[in-house]
């Protein structure tokens, strides 16, 4: 699940000082992204992204990968075997266009409002099994992002997007690693720290684990979300309930 806005607010990222990396876009970036879209993309994908010669980009589904990196790569390099050409944009411009594509995608989400927070909580703790990875207050597992105050950070529409399109953008501190030791032991968890010789993580059983890299025969960084999309798994009503509950989480004063 994304914790986009909080990270952005905390870091107060200034893009003028360096490449944007995986920072999160501002309103000004969206505006710049729209200009780039109008100039380069609208001719094929339509002014509102609904598709013409190129496919509809508002559905949240992308046949060549839906993570930010995938979209950037497709825009920069084009997509072989299709009519999609590459565009000579710089890193900042790419991030801005991707931000705008995300904004177009939001227009097709159902209205997130009107859910019942109490039913959402029951779903979170019960059938949804959300607490198997997420912690709220002092209960739930720790391997996924802590959601105690997610309602302060994400607007309902972004909460909904996180539930149905969890891979869109996973903040770097939530990337997983999958490790296989030379003895064949598989270790999976959220990466906490890493250097040239070792990697630290919290594994799927909430243990703090440190592994020396020279004891690994496989190291894989997982940048997309280990959480599945709940689109189709939960009804529209259930999604709205869950959003209402998550939006109500404001931490402890």
């Amino acid at each position: 699940m994304r914790v986009a806005l909080a990270v952005f607010a905390l870091l107060g990222t200034s893009w003028a000082q360096g490449p944007p990396g995986r920072s999160f876009p501002s309103r000004a970036d969206m505006d710049a992204g729209k200009k780039l879209w109008d100039a380069n993309c609208a001719v094929c994908h339509g002014e509102e992204g609904k598709g013409a010669r190129g496919p509809d980009l508002t559905t949240g589904r992308f046949s060549h990968g839906g993570a930010d990196d995938d979209l950037s790569r497709a825009i920069r390099n084009g997509i072989p075997g299709t009519e999609m050409p590459g565009f000579p944009l710089n890193e900042m411009e790419l991030t801005q266009v991707v931000a705008y594509v995300r904004a177009l995608g939001r227009t097709t989400l159902p209205a997130p409002a009107g859910g019942d927070a109490a039913r959402g909580e029951a779903l979170f703790l019960g059938a949804g099994q959300c607490a198997a990875c997420h912690r709220i207050g002092n209960s739930g597992a720790r391997v996924g992002p802590d959601l105690s105050s997610v309602g302060l950070r994400l607007a309902p529409v972004d909460l909904l997007a996180s539930l149905v399109r969890p891979d869109e953008r996973v903040a770097q501190q939530y990337w997983y690693v999958r490790l296989v030791t030379s003895g064949g032991k598989i270790i999976i968890g959220r990466r906490l720290n890493e250097d040239s010789y070792s990697v630290q993580l919290i594994d799927t059983q909430d243990r703090l684990v440190s592994v020396m890299k020279d004891d690994l025969k496989e190291y894989r960084l997982i940048k997309n979300s280990p959480m599945p999309s709940y689109e189709g798994k939960l009804s529209q009503e259930q999604l709205r309930d869950l959003v209402a509950y998550l939006a109500s989480l404001k931490g402890t004063p």
Partner: protein
């Protein structure tokens, strides 16, 4: 990865199950010498480890494994904890860091938000943490007790216990007994009224409180006159010990306030400068012994009580070994607080023996006057909070001393103002409290040393002198290695049997903390806080 697998694996993992460090584990640290679960290594506070990979004959092969540099220039007095390969330590004033004990790489850091206006006499220190279940306990400098999730560093509760604007602060590592977290405030130089209090580990709610300066209606109140008890000191700034068989917390209590104007507070001033034994469930006083009635020198009983079952004059006894700031080594009976012996281990001129009840006969010539009185030991004491160690292999008690050291104590005016210093006098000493450059030692000024003392006789068996004074704690191991260090910045290994230097490392900064040892994957390490870094050593592979 497949989320279904994660869900299946993890559904059980966050359900309450007593957590990682049960109170049973805390009772039996001898079953897991690879870990260091409490401030002094065990409830009886021997700071001794049965690990023996590092021995007297191979300690010369110690080498640096890792260093963790702090982001703080405050004095680093912390003892770390090690739990199943994870090391937890505090960064002064009150941050907490969790690192991989093999590499020093951080899992998480917790930054304490310090409220303004904290008055501290002697540095913005913190001496460590306690753990129970999956929760760490931190006593924050500004008087709040905090519980942190040991896996993430997230606060699970925070209880504001004492008011920092009145001079209360926390610097000690809390003590966990059963389901309670026990802590008391520093601030003896600020006219506080001390206490030791227990908090529910799950909720942070106060369960009991023992006032170290009794109020009206509490036993001992008659050892104070008028309203002197209201700012009578009796601070607590070092972790006590716990006797599970008697269910007693054995805790030293700080000096009475004002420090050096004893005539302003006539009476014995209980329970200042005493050891108290409290029922761990209720906080009720079982017994006490006052080392110095009406203490005039700021000689808090802020030393680690070392609990031992041993023969005393032919009888098996439950004892406490106590090297006190006042320059005497005491042996006490911990079933009743009776003093069995007291032997000076440094030059002293205040104590003239005990009366029939074990009360010290204090030399009137050593009491502070307005003109000034020269007293041995000096204000910092013959020893102080520096962690001692007891090795069952040698039967010796090891600790840092300030020998042949004096101060001139001057009684002065009372000057109470809330939250301000309340010393009632002045102290001058020939030894600078903080020296970055050690000048030629002068035998009239005293010296620092590590002492190996026979607790049966109180006699020093061997001693290693340092050029500078020492605030180092001591660790001994089953490899007969004694680790300590000093203000010169050396971290030393000595042969615990004879004091022979085995190995040393210059860490380049003031060392004022207690070492610990632990092991991970079968390799033994030694850790010490020094300067502004946590240093860890192991044998060359």
């Amino acid at each position: 990865m497949k989320t279904t697998a994660t869900v299946a694996l993890c559904l059980a993992c966050w359900l309450p199950a007593g957590g990682q460090v049960t109170s049973e584990r805390l009772l039996h640290p001898e079953r897991e010498p690879q870990n260091w679960l409490t401030y002094a290594g065990s409830y009886r506070s021997w700071r001794y480890s049965t690990l023996d990979q590092i021995k007297a004959d191979n300690a010369k092969n110690l080498e640096l494994t890792w260093v963790y540099q702090l982001e703080s220039l405050d004095k680093f007095e912390a003892t770390p904890l090690v739990v199943d390969g994870v090391m937890y330590f505090t960064q002064p004033p009150s941050d907490v860091i969790a690192v991989d004990a093999r590499t020093g790489r951080a899992f998480w850091t917790y930054r304490y938000r310090l409220s303004g206006n904290v008055g501290v006499c002697c540095g913005r220190d913190n001496r460590g943490l306690a753990i129970l279940g999956d929760t760490l306990f931190l006593a924050g400098l500004d008087g709040a007790l905090v519980a942190l999730d040991a896996k993430t560093g997230k606060e699970t509760w925070k209880t504001q216990v004492a008011d920092p604007s009145l001079g209360y602060s926390f610097t000690m590592a809390p003590l966990v007994v059963k389901d309670k977290v026990i802590v008391g405030p520093a601030g003896g130089e600020y006219g506080i009224r001390g206490f030791l209090a227990a908090f529910d580990a799950a909720t942070g709610k106060e369960v009991w409180r023992f006032n170290t300066v009794p109020g009206p209606g509490e036993p001992g109140h008659d050892t104070w006159t008028a309203d002197t008890w209201q700012k009578g000191g009796g601070s607590i700034w070092l972790t006590g010990s716990y006797d599970p068989e008697q269910n007693l917390i054995i805790q030293g209590v700080g000096n009475p306030g004002p420090d050096w104007n004893h005539t302003a507070r006539p009476g014995d001033n209980l329970y200042a400068s005493s050891v108290i034994a409290l029922d761990a469930d209720t906080g009720k006083l079982k017994w006490h012994y006052q080392f110095i009635p009406n203490d005039a020198w700021d000689w808090d009983a802020m030393q680690t009580p070392v609990l031992i079952d041993a023969e005393w004059q032919g009888q098996p006894r439950k004892l406490i070994y106590w090297a006190h700031r006042d320059g005497l080594f005491y042996v006490l009976d911990r079933t009743n607080g009776k003093v069995l012996s007291g032997t000076p281990f440094v030059k002293q001129n205040w104590w003239e023996g005990f009366d029939a009840n074990g009360r010290p006969r204090i030399s009137p010539k050593a009491l502070p006057t307005t003109a000034g009185t020269l007293v041995y030991p000096g204000v910092q004491g013959g020893t102080n909070w520096y962690a001692p160690s007891y090795s069952p292999r040698t039967g010796l008690f090891y600790f840092s001393v300030w020998a042949d050291y004096y101060s001139i104590f001057q009684e002065g005016a009372l000057d109470y103002s809330p939250g301000r210093r309340y010393n009632g006098g002045n102290v001058r000493q020939p030894l600078a409290y903080n020296r970055n450059i050690t000048l030629s030692p002068d035998e009239t000024q005293g010296y620092g040393a590590v002492d190996a003392l026979d607790p049966k006789t109180g006699k020093t068996i061997w001693q290693v002198k340092f050029a500078d004074l020492t605030e180092g704690g001591v660790l001994t191991t089953a490899g007969d290695v004694l680790f300590t260090g000093n203000r010169e910045g050396y971290f030393d290994a000595f042969d615990a049997r004879n004091g022979r230097l085995l190995w040393k490392a210059s860490l380049g900064g003031y060392l004022a903390a207690g070492p610990i040892t632990y092991s991970v994957d079968g390799k033994q390490y030694v850790a010490i806080a020094a300067g502004h870094g946590m240093y860890v050593f192991g044998l060359r592979d």
